[in-house]
């Protein structure tokens, strides 16, 4: 399927699939984003100055048709990763491959990539232009890609109906006249307007109250089936991530700590950070309550991250080796964890004992 096809036809076929279902939709390798700290005049001259290692070498894949949940504490690089994937900020290093094509290459120019990947932001109000009506906001994206205005408006009204907002009542309304849940539905419709294959949901339901959040989550799951979408679902809410995700990626301080199928990861976390994170999750079942102390304090400063394993400063199983050796993200039966406990030759005293054997 060529990428030069006209926009009107994309919705009709199977989303311009190129590599078949086995090829990951999105494949990220060695993604790095370092933000320069505000430099003084001298540091600008000498080229020195420190950097914030917001995302520091991240590898992951998003499979076709799945929902990949991304969790982690504030400041772990979740949102920076989302913005990097959307090319809203330029990566310092690394490669993003979308369905077999490198983003920005001749085969997949950025403009075309941005039609196939869309994003829903956390702040439903800030992400709608207050001077545009709802239908104009939704119709903007398709018009950018050459859909005539009349058709784009018709499509916007159709999409409003799909996300549960009666077009006659809402199409010509202004964003400030809508509630938070309604606005987020509009944002979802806007993201779907250019008929994307991957939708990045950056804390998309976090600002909604619980009942509305549940409605929007169910809407997202319905839309995913209806439009054959793939989701990258970023959230700090572990319950929500468990509910919606097929696979989960745990991030800590700009690196991937663990990835794996949602159920396996939640039932039997491999990485001590994942365990700590999950133990902070309130459980309905008294038998599942954990004796482990939840994490104390804040993550270390990403300007000067700890050497070795970044989690060793807060890890209950930390040993001297953890401060020296950087754990690799090793694959084990469909799951990956970056922890020396699971690295055979790392010399961690807990390897390969209780945790993994169990």
């Amino acid at each position: 399927m060529s990428i030069g096809m006209s926009v009107e036809h994309i919705g009709a076929d199977i989303h311009g699939d190129r590599g078949g279902p086995a090829q990951p939709l999105l494949s990220v390798r060695g993604l790095v984003k370092h933000f320069d700290l505000k430099k003084g005049f001298l540091e600008t001259l000498t080229g020195g100055g420190k950097v914030v290692r917001a995302v520091d070498g991240v590898d992951f894949e998003v499979l076709k048709g799945e929902t990949l949940g991304v969790v982690g504490e504030s400041g772990c690089g979740k949102s920076t990763t989302a913005r990097l994937l959307m090319h809203l900020i330029d990566p310092s290093a690394g490669e993003i491959v979308f369905d077999g094509e490198t983003v920005g290459s001749a085969a997949l120019p950025l403009r075309e990539y941005r039609r196939q990947v869309q994003m829903v932001f956390q702040d439903s109000y800030s992400s709608l232009n207050p001077r545009l009506t709802i239908q104009d906001s939704i119709a903007f994206g398709p018009q950018v890609h050459g859909v005539p205005r009349r058709e784009a408006i018709t499509r916007a009204r159709d999409l409003l109906a799909r996300v549960g907002l009666e077009p006659r009542r809402f199409a010509e309304r202004w964003p400030h006249e809508l509630s938070g849940g309604q606005r987020q539905r509009v944002n979802i419709a806007r993201a779907l307007a250019s008929e994307p294959r991957l939708v990045i949901l950056d804390e998309a339901v976090s600002a909604l109250d619980k009942s509305v959040e549940a409605q929007v989550l169910n809407l997202l799951m319905d839309l995913k089936d209806e439009f054959g979408l793939t989701y990258l679902f970023i959230s700090h809410d572990l319950h929500v991530v468990r509910y919606i995700s097929d696979r989960v990626m745990v991030m800590y301080l700009g690196k991937v700590a663990e990835t794996g199928p949602a159920e396996a990861l939640f039932d039997d976390p491999l990485h001590p950070y994942t365990r700590a994170l999950l133990s902070s999750m309130p459980s309905m079942d008294p038998d599942r309550r954990t004796e482990e102390a939840p994490l104390a304090g804040d993550p270390p400063n990403p300007i000067d991250p700890p050497p070795g394993c970044r989690f060793h400063t807060r890890c209950p199983f930390a040993e001297p080796v953890c401060a020296e050796r950087v754990p690799a993200l090793e694959e084990r039966a469909g799951r990956q964890a970056a922890c020396l406990i699971h690295e055979a030759d790392a010399g961690h005293s807990r390897n390969p004992t209780a945790i993994y054997a169990a």
């Binding site: 919705g11 959307m86 932001f121 232009n129 950018v144 018709t154 077009p167």
Partner: protein, 295 residues
């Protein structure tokens, strides 16, 4: 997947809510201060437009016998000036040049300053630094001094006064434009527009302009009063309008010698400047609060 086709259904009736600007107008209509100020300004504009038709006397007709007569003298309602010309007629005709010198430089500076500021604000980074530091150099001069220096260098005359006032007003407008644009640029809807693949020009046209022009315009209206006063100042110094053309600043200048003999008559051009500038200020204040969505 189902296609998002244009259905051939009968055109449904869409509920439409009032637009932003009609909301602003509605709020202004409920604000007595705004109505008062607008009425005064409207009256001034009408007087300026129809001045030649409604002046009771010839504004250029001098009379050595009737110099500096007090307010209400014979049929000279507001007295006469130092050359015996009817002051009311000259104030009416003077409204033309004074309003012109107040509004036109600000209007031109609004267009140019907004363009510069929006460009700098949207570009960000190094381009922003270069543009805004250059603007700051101009901004560092006190506006009166800059206007006088520019007018003086360019030579006396209305055109040059206009040009120098325009240059004086570009930096403050550009700074306001830059700061609101920087704010808007950081909002998620601009990010979302970028994420949809739109180019910078389209984003500025569709998403930035509508959100920044309002605040810049409000600020610019507050400069009209300043422009009138500066233009008057230039005329006062002999750098703007030349006699015998009536202009309030120039009239204030030529009448200053009469401040002891006919203080009320001598103060009248100043009163007109005051009334006009305070009307513009009050109107722009009301506009500012009417445009505040949170109210």
């Amino acid at each position: 997947m189902t296609t998002l086709n244009a259905g051939a259904a009968p055109a449904p009736v869409y509920e439409r809510s009032a637009g932003f600007w009609s909301g602003v107008l509605k709020k202004l209509a409920r604000d007595p201060v705004a109505i008062g100020a607008a009425a005064v300004l409207l009256a001034l504009v009408l007087i300026a437009l129809f001045a030649p038709l409604i002046t009771p006397h010839d504004p250029y007709q001098t009379s050595l016998l009737k110099r500096l007569r007090p307010i209400g003298f014979e049929n000279f309602l507001l007295g006469t000036d130092e050359l015996g010309r009817d002051l009311l007629s000259r104030l009416m005709l003077g409204a033309r040049l004074s309003l012109f010198m107040g509004i036109v430089p600000v209007l031109i500076a609004f267009v140019l300053g907004s363009a510069i500021g929006i460009l700098a604000g949207y570009a960000g980074g190094l381009a922003n630094t270069l543009i805004m530091r250059t603007i700051d150099v101009l901004y560092a001069f006190p506006s009166v001094l800059l206007a006088i220096a520019l007018s003086g260098a360019l030579g006396a005359g209305i055109g040059n006064a206009l040009l120098s006032l325009t240059i004086v007003f570009i930096p403050p407008i550009a700074r306001v434009a830059e700061s609101v644009t920087t704010q808007v640029r950081g909002r998620d809807f601009v990010e979302a527009a970028r994420a949809s693949g739109a180019g910078a020009f389209t984003i500025v046209r569709v998403h930035v302009l509508g959100n920044v022009l309002g605040p810049i315009f409000v600020y610019a209206t507050s400069l009209i009063a300043v422009s009138m006063i500066l233009a008057s100042g230039l005329s006062f110094l002999g750098l703007g309008v030349r006699p015998p053309e009536p202009e309030w600043g120039l009239m204030l200048n030529t009448l200053r010698t009469a401040i002891y003999t006919q203080p009320w008559v001598a103060a009248l051009p100043g009163v007109m400047i005051f009334i006009t500038s305070i009307s513009f200020n009050l109107l722009s204040d009301s506009l500012r609060s009417a445009m505040d969505v949170k109210n």
